[in-house]
Symmetry: C2
Subunit: 181 residues, 2 copies
DNA sequence: GTCTATAAACGGATAGAC
DNA sequence: GTCTATCCGTTTATAGAC
């Protein structure tokens, strides 16, 4: 394996390991030592790839942001608010269910709320999503609905007994009901 | 002021200070030093009242649990599922809005998820609430609805421009719509 | 690219004086 | 009831060898 390939491999491993641990124990309760131990490398090696702990978090959230930007671009091509809601919810729920074991790490984790840049990005995406669903001037009820539906992740903690398919259907119905008002 | 009164005063101050800081920065990112500094006392003095940091968190959550137990007892006296939902939502939303500046510290904070005892209590209350709203054997859709509605706290972050009264009405409508399915 | 070693600060928690 | 002083483990982060 080339050195560049090894680098990419390690970098990716750090992200997936951190993602799981952040989701399980929370960002603040996860140390770089724990991440390194889990991967069987040293802490110093982790620092070779990320200058700070928060840089790891930002890299993870950037991935999320890129995903949502793509989803919103797709959604914008669809005509009709109802069809748009269905497409958006489907994409969103698929993502949540695909990561169901490690779902959280949403806007609710304190670490995310602390990060100004990420918050600004998320606010931008929220505004764009609401524009697609509700037009240029959403009511407060519509805005509230969007905030609630877009934070559906934690709900899965109470539905562990469902298969992926069952969970997906339950969450889609729920989100659509909330968004449609 | 008597010594006992002073003790009660300080103890209460620790709880309110910790509550605000936990809600703002998260439990793990709040140190006892920060709590003590904010109150203008020493860390050692905080330890005089609470043996550990997590004891502070537990005291806070115990208050929440007591509140919900009372709300559920009241709700149980009401006949008719629709009226029950309205009463439960009203009590719940009032509580959320009354603490709107420091809303979170719900089941979403990692510190809460880590605490076995608190989790067991919250699960018990959740089961009882669902029984009151949906009968002895709620469907998965109903369960999902309850989990979503009971975590409405974070929604207020996006609705800062509303007055308390406006916010209360928006949240009540939203929760009822979710719960009624 | 990965390691060992270590710095420097901070965390939770305790002992003992007043 | 509150304080000063301190212990000790852990944390983020860096320096430098291989």
């Amino acid at each position: 394996m080339t050195r560049a390939a090894q680098a990419e491999r390690t970098r990716a491993a750090i992200l997936t390991t951190a993602r799981t641990l952040f989701a399980t124990h929370g960002y603040d309760a996860t140390s770089l030592q724990t991440i390194a131990d889990e991967m069987d490398v040293t802490k110093a090696n982790v620092y070779y790839y990320f200058r700070t702990k928060s840089a790891i978090l930002e890299a993870l959230l950037d991935n999320t942001i890129v995903f949502f930007e793509a989803l919103l671009r797709e959604t914008a091509k669809i005509r009709g608010k109802r069809a748009r809601a269905e497409h958006m919810v489907a994409g969103f729920v698929d993502q949540v269910v695909a990561n169901r074991a490690l779902s959280p790490l949403g806007r609710t984790d304190p670490s995310v709320r602390r990060n100004e840049r990420i918050n600004a990005e998320l606010a931008r995406l929220a505004a764009e999503a609401m524009r697609l669903l509700y037009g240029d001037d959403p009511t407060d009820d519509q805005r509230a609905a969007w905030y609630l539906a877009s934070d559906v992740g934690p709900v899965i903690a109470g539905l562990r007994h469902l298969t992926d398919d069952e969970l997906r259907e339950v969450l889609k119905r729920l989100c659509l009901r909330v968004l449609r008002g």
